[in-house]
Symmetry: C2
Subunit: 469 residues, 2 copies
Amino acid sequence: MNKKTINMKYLFTPESVAVIGASDNPGKLGFHVMKSLTKGGFTGRIVPINPSSDKIMGLKTFSSITAYNGQIDLVIVVVPAKLVAAVFRECATKGVKGIVLITAGFKEIDDRAGTALQEEIAGIANDAGIPVIGPNTMGMINLRADLNASFTPEFSRLMKGSIALVSQSGGMSAVLGYLAMRMNVGFSKIIGLGNRMNVDFDQAIDYLVDDPDTKVIMLYMEGIDDPRKLMETIKKHSSKKPIIIYKTGSASKSDQASRSHTGSMAGRHEIYMGSFSQAGMLGVDNAETLLDTARALAACPIPDGPGVAVLTGQAGPGIAACDACEAQGLKMVQFTEKTQQKINENLPPLALRTNPVDMGPAWYNTSASKEIIKVAMNDDNVNGILFLMVFGSANVDALKGISNILNKWAQKKPVISCILSPPDIWDEQIKELEQSGALINYPTPERAANAMANLWRYREIQISREELY
Amino acid sequence: MNKKTINMKYLFTPESVAVIGASDNPGKLGFHVMKSLTKGGFTGRIVPINPSSDKIMGLKTFSSITAYNGQIDLVIVVVPAKLVAAVFRECATKGVKGIVLITAGFKEIDDRAGTALQEEIAGIANDAGIPVIGPNTMGMINLRADLNASFTPEFSRLMKGSIALVSQSGGMSAVLGYLAMRMNVGFSKIIGLGNRMNVDFDQAIDYLVDDPDTKVIMLYMEGIDDPRKLMETIKKHSSKKPIIIYKTGSASKSDQASRSHTGSMAGRHEIYMGSFSQAGMLGVDNAETLLDTARALAACPIPDGPGVAVLTGQAGPGIAACDACEAQGLKMVQFTEKTQQKINENLPPLALRTNPVDMGPAWYNTSASKEIIKVAMNDDNVNGILFLMVFGSANVDALKGISNILNKWAQKKPVISCILSPPDIWDEQIKELEQSGALINYPTPERAANAMANLWRYREIQISREELY
């Protein structure tokens, strides 16, 4: 392993962080970075660097990292581009392990000087074996280390979880982060790649597949410089951890004149999707599905087949879920005779008793509900359970009644639910069931079905890769 | 107009409501119906009917509606099926205007007796000109009249709005209602059709197109008995108000053996979608899109063309929205020279200045932001504005700065936004902008783009109908 690769660990879990360009002025990025670090709960040492201050946010401030006597693992840089080369040289001398370079004005600007500057600092960093996130990045957040190395203090409001995001856009990091907060989804890390100077998708993935805090990797991508190299990296790793990709930039206004849009879009989209699948990655086409899919992959075992049992509290949502399942390549299983017999014993003849199973008449009877859930779970034909229950006066206590069996079964096969009530009524109970690993919940029957379908798509991609190699 | 049609108005806006089968026992539906009425804020007279009580929920209780001396406009029935015929005869004699028949055990049960009973009570109701919601329904809610005639008191938590839902499934009414609560979407009415004895989709639509409280009609449908008749009704009305339909039940397990599922699904789905379009209705394929589309149609003017301007605070979300726009049949417009010149004057050369317009560099300068928004809105090539802004330290006050111009412009063309922050930061400001009619907001760039696309699809459907007739 080269020095840069070894240093990746220190970049994400430093014991000491210096902010070059720290500030007490809320109009400056250096203020927001300092706020991210100090309010984010980071327990290591924080060293503000600013030659014209003695103290910033109550912390002793130094004129340079050289002027500070101790070790600095991570440096966050927000000073103007023209000062960055000197900073990098100082970092190399000081033995800094990693840099987050928030400053913009490098390769992305329409000027040779920016590219030249980026090449110069890349040379310094590469020679010193320092991995650099950026330049022109919103930063990086390691939630498991309470390290918010970004200019957005609000990212620290994210729950800790096991989903990592590697994003080519700060704006999309924010979209996904704020959505995650609203959906109670936990992240392990967010890496804003920026200009990808010497930490690109490849290096981020190389690091994250071995990161014990990360179970699922989400990629948001706009352009790829070297698709072949990236696909090789992904092929190497994709059997270790699920990698999901949302790639935009397929639509092109410049094609408008010469081609039918829908055709060109679909065509290119399919080529991308095809090569993603071949590399072992799951492609999705919007931010919501990216999060929905990552949640399922982080929370559920991967199903062995496409066979789904839909257990529903009401017929309508059950039918909607069936439609979505079949449209997405899942199969509504036929239960074994033994299972069917047990279900029939616990439901009146008028209820939907095959698949979907309308459990409505069993809500009044916890032991009947439990028996139905148990036999469906243990049916050999069933690869996954979709569990749908909408609040009503008849089932207000039903969730409590079946929590035990769901917890005990602990998703030997995936249990994906749409349990929905007016705000606050069941929300805490659902959160508890999610936290104990009993299920993962979605706000609509269709999104629950699609999440299950994507679990199976992921498995299919893995199977066809196993057959290929 | 026949008597039944005239009576529809009293069914939805009664001055007095009797509950036959009212109860003080939380194990009974009659308890929940009484709770819905009394806690829902209904200001008319509520008359509980139960021969074995004197008082229910503090209200004087009568042994029958005959025993009550005053007029009864609406009767809600929850007594067992075998008692319903007698109740209906009493209603006819009493001059009741409308019935909500929650009781089940009629045509839906696998027994001739149920069908016979339904035919009997239908005869009584039709002869007396009484419209009946149900049987086997969760009920009806007229939010604008604070009338919750359902067994789910929680439906009264819904905001008042201008979207009506006609649903063949109580479960899906609950899914859509609870989602609407969580998304701050307001409803005018929810009609649970149940067995559709003498109030079917046709009659509900006939009523709702003339309902001044309703701007948009959503249909949730599983099966159609007489598609031709329904399509005629819809053709007659669909130019008056937008009607959106979500039809499930396309997937059929019984087809599994003989056909490829996806093929059969897609085929049938397309046939449905085709006939919906011909009738002037917009078809959607999931609960979330149904609500998203209804919100846009209720809040926005219909665009005259597919040309969209994407004004974005960050490049990533803008690119994601462009992809979604083009994939859904919208066009990223080229601005007129005059517009482009004004934008160029207000943004540095490095920003995306064509379309999407990356307004990031203008957040620090409210007058520049305003000028860009103004010229884009007034550009003749632009039929609708997608406005995207993700919270960050640089734009914390930006929303306040541009609220004025958005409010003043008041959607002369549709303004659909994805303005997103961590919970609570911008939520109130967004709600105010929505309530003042300045825009309608969605949680992701793609859902915002899809909502705009569905506005245009609705217009396209109307245009092709105008060309046909």
